[in-house]
């Protein structure tokens, strides 16, 4: 009986601790919003953080987007060809990217690169008492350290997702038209007709914005909450990636069903 009780209690423990953490993270989110006035007065801090989260992620986003676009072109062509619809390859690439792959893959890459950097940085600042020192100097670490990083993440994510989609389409074009030989005009015109600005482009932007909020909050919270030891910080960065990825995929489903039903 004992091992069964043990597993049950540990399961219950995990659920309650996760709910508690969700509550804590929400409290952090609200605090960030409350202090956002102070954060924006120090606009240069936010710009600095946009550089570190957004600009530094450009390389990985562009390279990944290019490969994803090319794979879509390749895979899509060979499947569409069986139904004689190979000219719709442009539509396939564009819609896949705009609606799903752009926002989701960008979010996952962002969580891995920028998210872990944020968690490690904040965790380390907490461990070396820098956050405490700032508090004692009557400067709110939320306004000055956490806030700017949050707004930087929220601003960077839609930008990165748009760049991802655009580069992906170009990658798909590269494979489809010069390499495989699909007609240049057909590629773009079919795409143009079937991709709707409001439904596809805007919805993709909304998704990437929501993912930006989620991933950045998770990264900030894990760093802020990490035990102030080396092991604690390293485990926190792992948790950032795992939690961000699962949250993004879950939110993607919820948002997609909401958007399609609308």
């Amino acid at each position: 009986m004992n091992p069964i009780f043990k597993t049950l209690s540990s399961l219950g423990n995990q659920v309650t601790s996760r709910i508690w953490r969700l509550g804590s993270a929400t409290r952090l989110f609200l605090l960030i919003l409350i202090y956002s006035g102070e954060s924006f007065r120090r606009i240069h801090l936010t710009i600095r953080e946009i550089y570190f989260t957004g600009v530094m992620s450009l390389i990985i986003i562009i390279v990944s987007a290019f490969f994803v676009g090319m794979v879509l072109g390749l895979q899509g062509y060979y499947t569409l060809q069986k139904y004689g619809s190979s000219e719709s390859i442009g539509v396939l690439v564009a819609l896949s990217l705009l609606r799903e792959l752009g926002p989701v893959v960008t979010a996952l890459l962002f969580a891995g690169r920028a998210g872990t950097a944020i968690t490690a940085e904040i965790g380390l600042m907490k461990a070396t008492e820098q956050l405490s020192a700032m508090e004692m100097m009557a400067v709110s670490p939320i306004a000055r350290i956490i806030g700017p990083r949050f707004w930087a993440g929220v601003i960077s994510m839609p930008i990165l997702a748009s760049i991802f989609s655009m580069v992906g389409v170009m990658g798909g074009y590269l494979v489809a038209v010069p390499i495989i030989g699909v007609d240049h005009g057909a590629f773009w015109s079919q795409m143009n007709v079937n991709v709707d600005f409001r439904f596809d482009v805007i919805n993709g932007l909304i998704k990437s914005f929501v993912f930006g909020v989620a991933c950045t909050i998770i990264a900030l919270y894990e760093g802020f909450d990490a035990p102030p030891t080396a092991e604690g910080v390293s485990r926190a960065t792992t948790r950032t990636v795992v939690t961000s990825s699962l949250t993004v995929l879950g939110l993607d489903f919820i948002l997609t069903s909401f958007m399609i039903a609308h």
Partner: protein, 155 residues
Amino acid sequence: MDKTTLDIWVGLFVAIGIAALMGLATKVGNLTSNTLGETYAVTANYENIGGLKPRAPVKSSGVVVGSIDNIKFDTKTYQAVVTLKIDKRYPFPKDTFANIYTSGLLGEQYISLEAGGDDQFLKEGDRISKTQDAVVLEKLISQFLYNKATEEPKK
């Protein structure tokens, strides 16, 4: 990393992002001068709109000249009232036909405008009186069966 270099990089980043978004909107999507330009709204009544949806294109001679704004139901006449938004660059005479056609064999439905000969043009808020309903498959089949039935006695 001094202040100005940082600002330049971030500015570049945001600029590239906006450029990508614009690229997506225009080249990939269908945000053209049509949707951004000025339009005038007219209505048309139909007995049956078939599968016509809002945002479906309004074409004339195959060229997109506008889009469907919304579709409402009139409880007085029990007809569907479709509001079309036509680009201001394309004026149409008052006796224009607004027919519901299907793209290809089983594609999406759209409204096709065939210009008449009236020297008065449609203004904002006017109603197109000459309309042709969508082709509904069931009616087509019953029509075909009826024709077949009336043919028999000729034998």
